[in-house]
Amino acid sequence: MEFARPAGALALLAVPVIVWLHRARRRAPETVVASLQPWAALVAPAPRRRRVPPSALLALRLAAATAFAFALLDPRSTGVDATLGPERVAVFLDTSSSMAAGVRWNAARAVAAEEIASADGPVSIFTLGPRPRAIAVDELDRGLLARSLDALGPGGTGFHVPDAVALARAVLDGRPARLVVVTDLPSAAAPELAELVIWRVVGEPEDNLAVVGIHGRNVGGRAEVAGRVANFGRAPAEVVVDLELDGAPEAEARIVLQPRSSRDLEWTIGRRIERARIGVRSADGVRDALPDDDEARIDVARPAVPVQVVGESEAFERALRSLEGVSIERAGLGTLRSPGEGGVAVIVGRAPTLLPDGGIVLVPDSPSRPPEPASQGPETAVVRFEGAGLHPLVRGLALAGAAVGRGRLAGPAAAPGTVVALEAGGQTMLQARPIDGGRGRMVELGFVPDRGDLRARAAFPLLVARIVSWVTPPRPPAAVPVGTWVPMPSWPMVLTGPEGRVQLAGYGTDRLDRPGWYALRAAGGDAPAIDFGVNAGDPFESDLAGGEDRTPAAPESRAGSIEWWWWALAFGFAAVLAEGLGARTMPSGGRASPDSGRRAGANGSPGRRGGRGGGRGRSGGRGGQ
């Protein structure tokens, strides 16, 4: 056993002080008598005062003082605390893209394997990425843990250790565990976690070049592409930046980047393009530790949202055609197909029993049909809302005073999740709701677009655009960082990644940890795929200057040492409590006497004062009567 604070031994000086105080205070209990005359002549041996008699109170006081001194010494013993059982270990492995630099990933896996091997209890593995994941929980099978480690790879942008720790605590159900973070980030980046986790840093500071940003768009008959390249090295670097459009080299620029600086580059192309790629490479042999972030890709030509129109509504269709990025095709109820990659179906009239995937817009029937009997009266109703504090579909639109033709809602007004967006004349004119448990969205119109004067308002195309946008299934962005969440339609999709890797996806994924081109299409469908680029370049992840902190920030108390100070402290407090109770229940002299009512306390002669006070109080009370 070792003592972390030897100066605490000075507290042991309290022991002789307590003994001395006991001997000094060890006096015969005082008894106040009316006169010493009858006692003075008596010969009796005086009590021996020099010896401290054994007393339970003295023992408790000495025990408390010794325990407190012991606690101040901060005693520790090495070994496994048997009272806690086998120690759990939770390894948090940094899987961000910076870990792919150099030998960082291999070193991190080695450290994790070392932690697993040294653990004598169950081990849990969590990945540190944009969204922490539990790979193994309370696993004792070392082989399975090793295979789980081997299956992991770096790829992701950023991580948040507190989120991962919260996940671990939730998964481990609050059971104590030794938390080990294996990362290339210095522990100084998260000082608030120093007392919570053991921070094991891998890797050395390294130079790196990266494309940390890309943007592109088609504007009319031309295209614009912009990118940002950065030098995270410690020396100036001459680099070559090349632009590739639709798979063919387009331009190349040779620039000099100062240490730890970035530069924006822009290109304007005289034609529309589909894809763009920007790459950077060193022209003077400067070390580039992370090749993955040397390229960035973007899908410039995003496919139009396919809108199938069933039935006829001249005003609604005219508004649809005014929208950009929407391809309209006519269909019948029998030929209506699922929009696949994320389209919209506009159904005018009666809706089919089986709705297709994707967004649905139900428009009431043609003006020739009579209005609903429940809404007998004028064929039009006037919208009276002011456009503030309403549903996002209609908020801010100048619809007040517009006359809308009364129609018939295709679906039930009280379906789960239904939100009324617009009312006029006491009738629901627009309502929105999810369909099939959130697989898609549906907007139902309660008015006939071809009736009334709403179709003549400038706000009507905006309303239609919002409706189409709201019901359109989510689509991946043109370019995303590795490991971030990519939204997708909620039905089965097939995702084809770089090197031809294919995986099923739906609703979204955050497991795109390899940079490159990805294509998303509906499973079993023949609709065109949506392409998007996944890029590893990131101002945070591409900066490999970290890693200097080689010293594990493991708290001493977690390095296999067992602390005993709080046991000693608890024992000391227990002794104090027992001493307090004992002092209340037994006289200080340790011997009770029938005359204890007149017996003075140890600190003076309260019995004497009490006796006199009692007499005075009694006579005073009588005097007052």
Binding site: A28, A34, S35, L36, A46, P47, G589, G611
Partner: protein, 315 residues
């Protein structure tokens, strides 16, 4: 009914009325009213009522309106005491003689030193004895004087109408904060100087005093003074219940005496206490005083008054 009897009846009625008024007056809570009424049937026995003011029938016969005897006229006798009927029958000047009433002077000396207040029962018993004897004296027409042991000068009361004031004064007395001046000798000497006629002296104390008791009692010796020392001792003094090592602290002097108390020590204590009480009794006997030991925990009516009755101080 003779004229003398009629006068006696009138006096008795007046006394009863006065006593009734005294009973109706507040008694300051020292003794309850019922007990005070019973006390009125008691009288203090004084061998020599020396106060010319009082209602005790005296043995001295003087020319008076109340005829108990006759004697020949002497020059100087008042004409109004001449029995003219006898002159008519016997043709001789005869003077009517009657008994001269006297009163007793009762002096109560109360010890209020801290030792008296150490035990509440002790102080209560002292006050009650003082109140009872004083009430009997004042209600019986005698003069009562209350002296504190640490203050020789005292107040006096006479007549049933002043009895409640006596009780009020008594209720206002508290224990002395210190024992300074609580000496019996000087106090009794001062009383002797001020009360030259003598009288009945009642000393109420625990007699844990430092001065010479023989000398103190000699200052007010018989026959002019009829002294009664009432020594009040608490149960803790009569039979202390101590054991083991104790530090005895004198309540008045603060002196400490550490000792180990066992059964032998207690037996020695009892023997020493008996010797002390015998010494006090002998001193009282030599000085012509009576001595009574009263337990502070005893009952005033059941124990103390009968004790005083046996000592011929009450009837």
């Amino acid at each position: 009914m003779t004229r003398t009897e009629a006068k006696d009846n009138a006096k008795a009625k007046a006394k009863a009325t006065s006593n009734a008024k005294a009973n109706e007056a507040p008694t300051a809570g020292v003794l309850d009213t019922e007990f005070l009424r019973r006390l009125e049937h008691l009288r203090l026995l004084a061998a020599q009522p020396t106060n010319p003011l009082g209602e005790r029938p005296g043995h001295l016969r003087m020319p008076a309106a109340d005829v108990v005897d006759h004697r020949p006229y002497s020059p100087g006798d008042e004409i109004r005491h001449v029995d003219w009927h006898a002159l008519a029958r016997h043709d001789e000047l005869i003077v009517r003689l009657g008994n001269v009433t006297r009163g007793a002077d009762v002096c109560l000396v109360l010890d209020r030193s801290p030792s008296m207040a150490l035990e509440p029962s002790k102080w209560r018993m002292a006050i009650e004895i003082c109140a009872a004897i004083g009430w009997i004296a004042i209600a019986g027409g005698d003069r009562a004087r209350l002296c504190l042991l640490d203050q020789a000068a005292g107040d006096s009361w006479r007549g049933p109408a002043q009895a409640p004031r006596f009780l009020e004064r008594l209720a206002g007395i508290g224990p002395a904060p210190t024992d300074a001046g609580s000496l019996l000798g000087p106090t009794l000497a001062a009383v002797g100087r001020e009360e030259g006629r003598g009288g009945l002296l009642i000393v109420i104390s625990d007699l844990w005093l430092d001065d010479d008791l023989d000398e103190a009692i000699a200052a007010l010796a018989a026959p002019r003074w009829e002294a009664q020392l009432v020594q009040i001792l608490a149960e803790a003094e009569l039979a202390p219940r101590l054991s083991g090592p104790v530090a005895l602290v004198d309540v008045e002097s603060g002196q400490r005496l550490e000792m180990v108390v066992d059964e032998h020590v207690l037996a020695d204590y009892q023997a020493g206490l008996r010797r002390r009480l015998d010494e006090v009794a002998n001193a009282c006997a030599l000085g012509g005083a009576a001595h009574a030991v009263v337990s502070a925990e005893s009952s005033l009516e059941a124990v103390v008054l009968p004790l005083l009755r046996r000592r011929a101080h009450l009837r």
